[in-house]
């Protein structure tokens, strides 16, 4: 026999009663508090993921790769790349050589940059790299010269077709180092959106870079996986593939994953996200307190009804469940509205920024006309102020699930705390004195 149906029946009645009674404001505020917390978390997490995953993708697609094998010789690097491409879980494999160099435009000072040489057919071997770089002027032509970041081009005062002077120390050993300089044309300018790369990275071909590299600059192999979050199996497969290569056995550093090579940076990103979640999570504590007090007052107001339900055979836990359900309904409704509004907001956040930019522009113009002051002139409500074309957003379903789970759990926990008053009620005493 079903002994729990009545709990839902009574909870539904009390909820209806509460919605129309004096306690409706407290109930609404509790639900709204949960909704607000969920909205904030969804929006902040969505934008933060957008930034962080954007950074991670920039770093991995452009420079760091998912797996990297350093300190190879050129022949081994080229062979290893061919081997790697035969592994099914590998998306792209690219040998490269990187060195530090000085670069100067016709009318600028020297700038220190990282010069990276990759195969001239990199566009074909690693489409993700070229796509992420987003070459907006010229083309990705490495055989004919240099492809550099937009910020660097601006600092050097060069355009596509101009010539750059590169200076480096080549040779072997400290005593054997000799300065070398070359002039090469700019064939393309990219804008990755990652300032560090746009300001200090130049791509050229493997053949050209060897004229600048010292003996200490060793070629390396960058590998991109189809799923960069599953590293172990492909790494083991690659290790086996590479074991027959003499260069790999001799001097290489082994296969280093992106998590290992960027541990500090990605750790900092994770910590930033955790701290932000905790800070926003505090909002739920305030809401939890609100639900607790609202339901506790409800429990006290229903003392007589609770005593009667006990007299009619209702168990203490079942009666507690009536109030826990009420808190659960508040949490569920708050979560539902919070998720709906939060996802709507985060998916249209760039429209919101455009609107804010427009409004702030109008307000500034209005104040300027009225008072002759640049009142809102310094207000930066535009992604462009943060070196962005738009605010990046990335929604992770697991995070959405966790936010919902957390919000509903907090509500249920507060309701459970409030319902514990039921345990201390003596029906006989209540019915005698009420």
């Amino acid at each position: 026999m079903n002994r729990i149906g009545w709990v839902f029946f009574v909870a539904r009645r009390y909820r209806r009663e509460r919605r129309s009674g004096k306690a409706s404001a407290a109930g609404f505020l509790s639900t709204a508090g949960i909704a607000l917390g969920v909205i904030t978390l969804v929006v902040v997490m969505g934008v933060m993921n957008g930034f962080q995953l954007g950074f991670i993708e920039d770093i991995l697609e452009i420079r760091s790769y998912d797996l990297q094998v350093s300190s190879l010789n050129m022949e081994t690097a080229l062979k290893a790349a061919d081997y790697a491409r035969s592994v099914p879980s590998v998306k792209a494999a690219l040998p490269f050589l990187e060195t530090q160099t000085l670069v100067q435009g016709r009318f600028s000072d020297f700038e220190a940059v990282a010069l990276r040489g990759i195969p001239p057919n990199a566009e074909e071997l690693d489409p993700g790299l070229v796509s992420q770089l987003s070459v907006d002027r010229g083309k990705f032509d490495l055989a004919g010269g240099l492809v550099l970041g937009g910020e660097l081009a601006r600092a050097l005062g060069v355009r596509v077709g101009d010539t750059l002077t590169l200076a480096a120390l080549t040779g072997e050993g400290f005593a054997g180092l000799v300065p070398a300089s070359h002039e090469l044309p700019v064939t393309g300018i990219f804008r990755s959106g990652f300032y560090e790369y746009d300001r200090g990275l130049i791509f050229t071909s493997l053949e050209l870079i060897q004229e600048f590299a010292s003996v200490n600059d060793k070629p390396a192999l960058g590998i991109k996986l189809r799923n960069r979050y599953r590293i172990d199996k492909p790494r083991a497969a690659l290790k086996e593939e590479f074991s027959s290569l003499s260069g790999f056995q001799d001097g290489s550093t082994g296969i280093v994953s992106w998590r290992e090579s960027n541990r500090a940076f990605f750790g900092a990103l994770r910590m930033e996200k955790l701290i932000m979640s905790l800070l926003i999570g505090v909002m739920f504590l305030v809401t939890a307190g609100n639900i607790y007090h609202s339901l506790r007052r409800g429990v006290q107001e229903k003392r007589t009804a609770i005593a009667v339900l006990r007299a009619l055979g209702g168990g203490q836990r079942e009666i507690q469940l009536v109030f826990i359900l009420e808190g659960g309904i508040m949490g569920f409704l708050g979560t539902f509205w919070g998720l709906s509004l939060g996802l709507l907001l985060v998916n249209h956040i760039n429209r919101l920024f455009s609107l804010l930019e427009l409004l702030s522009g109008w307000a500034a113009g209005f104040l300027n006309t009225l008072f002759g002051v640049q009142a809102l002139g310094g207000l930066a409500i535009t992604p462009a102020a943060f070196y962005l074309s738009e605010v990046p957003v990335r929604i992770l379903p697991l995070e959405i699930f966790l936010i919902a789970f957390f919000a509903i759990s907090v509500s249920l926990l507060s309701a459970w705390g409030a319902s514990r008053d039921v345990a201390g009620m003596n029906p006989s005493t209540i019915l005698r004195y009420e």
Partner: protein, 224 residues
């Protein structure tokens, strides 16, 4: 056949530094199907006695057996079941749930006991018809008179077909006309269904209706 047996039932309350012995080694045997009336002054322990028999309160010592069940030794879950299945309560104040209709109030104990909702509703409808409230099924307590509320409470107490009905001054809050009507209804329902009734009352008019009557005085029972 005996339905209720009390042996050495004692209940004390502490009031400040004073210990009040409300029930002092009370012994009682109640046959099944009988009507037993308890009377006495206010504070003499009548309601306490009923609450202890109904497992709403615990004795300090003594034994309570109802239909062979040791009520004083029941665990918490068993107490709930005992209250749901074996006893029915009618209080001085109706204690109907506000916001619930007469039908819902009356059917709730059956639903709580595990009966399907439709069956519980049907049984409540029948009982409310028997107490003359067939046209008041959807009325909430606020829409009913004092006598009608008490009749709903009576239907609620009987819905699970309990062996023992505990009525604590069921007419204490009613006017003369309603007192008479509720009294007649209570006794006719109890006699028709063969229930055992323990009735606490101040009304001397009830005493001749009972099979036996007791006065609670100084913690003990005096047969009237």
């Amino acid at each position: 056949m005996e339905l209720l047996r009390l042996e050495g039932l004692t209940k004390r309350y502490i009031s400040g530094t004073e210990v009040l012995t409300i029930l002092d080694k009370v012994d009682l045997s109640v046959p099944a199907g009988s009507v037993t009336i308890f009377t006495g002054e206010s504070g003499s322990g009548k309601s306490t006695l009923l609450n202890i028999i109904g497992a709403l309160d615990n004795p300090d010592s003594g034994e309570i057996r109802v239909d062979g069940i040791r009520v004083d030794q029941l665990a918490e879950g068993e107490t709930d079941r005992y209250r749901s299945e074996t006893v029915g309560f009618v209080f001085q104040f109706h204690y109907l749930l506000e916001g619930f209709s007469a039908l819902e109030n009356a059917m709730l104990p059956a639903y709580m006991r595990g009966l399907p909702l439709a069956e519980a509703r049907e049984r409540a409808r029948e009982l409310l018809s028997r107490v003359g409230l067939e046209k008041r099924l959807d009325h909430t307590p606020a829409m009913l008179s004092g006598g009608e509320r008490q009749r709903v409470a009576l239907a609620r107490a009987l819905i699970n077909d309990p062996k023992l009905l505990l009525a604590d001054e069921p007419t204490g809050n009613l006017d003369e006309g309603n007192t008479l009507r509720v009294k007649e209804l209570l006794f006719s329902l109890v006699r028709d269904t063969g229930k055992t009734l323990l009735l606490v009352t101040h009304e001397s008019a009830f005493i001749p209706e009972g099979d036996r009557a007791y006065r609670l005085h100084a913690g003990g029972l005096e047969r009237l």
